[in-house]
Symmetry: C2
Subunit: 250 residues, 2 copies
């Protein structure tokens, strides 16, 4: 297929291809994808960020991007963020960000393959791909179109979430995809008034340590921080100081 050849030509110019996945929605995949991309850009790396959530895209909003994607000589031109992250998302093609994208699976997979084949990322050190919840068309399109360097899993502390994240782990195992590790998000919250460390979603109740229950290394933990959702809501995720969390990204 001509498209497959185009995808591999584009991906040949990308040193590392990292997907961020969880299976479960709302655990912070988009936040983690954005933070990883930002941390890498701050280290001077050339970074691309593909929003793989076609019906629920949220990356452009987090970065405050309002320009639309345009066509250049060599293909679709990503929108570049303040810190230099090249972003591609379906929301950058819509007239209004809250417009519904009512597409069935085959179309979703087709659009993801098209964005991979037709985007002119140029030379990149890292391409970060934010995957939507589930183990269906979008995930299969990415896993089958390119060879990932690794996947970063995201979970929150509930055992129910662990059960669904393990479905994603099962899919990655079945497709022989390397798992770099897991980020545990939103397991603690420090009361701004009395300073006590709280566990709004309960303490991680998985069996033993996180490594043991998920079978992958724990990369880092991100606490609940109202600053994160406030900055995401106002399009200023690039202002969040989280570099110590993402030294690992290098």
């Amino acid at each position: 297929l001509k498209q497959t050849k185009k995808i591999s030509e584009r991906m040949n110019r990308v040193k590392y291809r990292i997907a961020v996945m969880s299976g479960k929605g709302g655990v912070g995949k988009s936040v983690v994808s954005a933070m990883v991309a930002i941390a890498l850009a701050k280290q001077g790396k050339k970074v691309g960020l593909l929003d793989g959530d076609i019906t629920g895209a949220s990356i452009p909003r987090m970065f405050g991007l309002t320009e639309k994607l345009s066509a250049g000589e060599n293909g679709i031109l990503p929108v570049v963020s303040r810190l230099g992250v090249k972003v591609v998302s379906i929301n950058l093609l819509l007239e209004a960000e809250s417009q519904a994208v009512i597409w069935r699976g085959p179309l979703i997979a087709g659009v993801i393959r098209q964005l991979l084949a037709d985007t002119d990322w140029g030379d990149l050190d890292f391409l970060v791909i934010d995957l939507p919840p589930g183990t269906s068309d979008a995930q299969l399109a990415v896993l089958q179109s390119l060879r990932l360097s690794g996947v970063v899993l995201v979970a929150s502390p509930q055992a129910l979430v662990e059960m669904v994240v393990m479905k994603a782990v099962d899919m990655l195992r079945q497709t022989n995809t390397r798992i770099a590790g897991l980020i545990m998000n939103m397991s603690t919250y420090r009361c701004p008034q009395c300073g006590i460390l709280l566990h709004p979603f309960g303490e991680h109740r998985g069996s033993g340590t996180i490594e043991k229950s998920f079978g992958v290394p724990l990369l880092c933990e991100i606490p609940i921080d109202p600053q994160i959702s406030i900055l995401c809501d106002s399009g200023k995720i690039e202002d969040y100081e989280c570099s110590e969390l993402f030294v690992l990204a290098g």
Copy 2:
């Protein structure tokens, strides 16, 4: 199509068909679906609960259901919970709950239609359908297979979440589906130590009141309560005392 006729025969025995939707993952759709079904069962109503999340099913875990679905004379027999909620979920067909279900859109839609056509719910006062995140195959299968009495939306307070929930609202408007109202979940959390009311995800920053930004009535607000995730994780959601929240369900 024979299946369409079978679905309408089954649905003719159901007084009210309610879907719980948000577009965004992790906002509490499954928790709300379970709570609505439980509140109705406690009022003596005959209630069915269909887990429409095929690749990330979590309803059986919340209810602690481990029996599998079986075939009766009149079709698939739901698994009945302690309080009498009839539950159907793909996880009740799997050997292990954390097994991946790696299916593309057309198969997902097909399975949902099959569960609607072949399940022997009997006579019901309410059928509650928990929809997965997104505006794709699963949502289209439900919206196009049966006439919903209404949809209950679920959101959490972030503006980013509001933007994605509005995509679901757009889909419901385009398909002329009645929206009963919205449940705002996880906007507050009371510190168990000092008692202050906290907003871990920021205060609702939508324009004006919730009704104004979403354009639908606010049915109720559910605070972050560690009891909810602890009971979900241990399969005891039926033990959660939330009846005052769900008087509205009647």
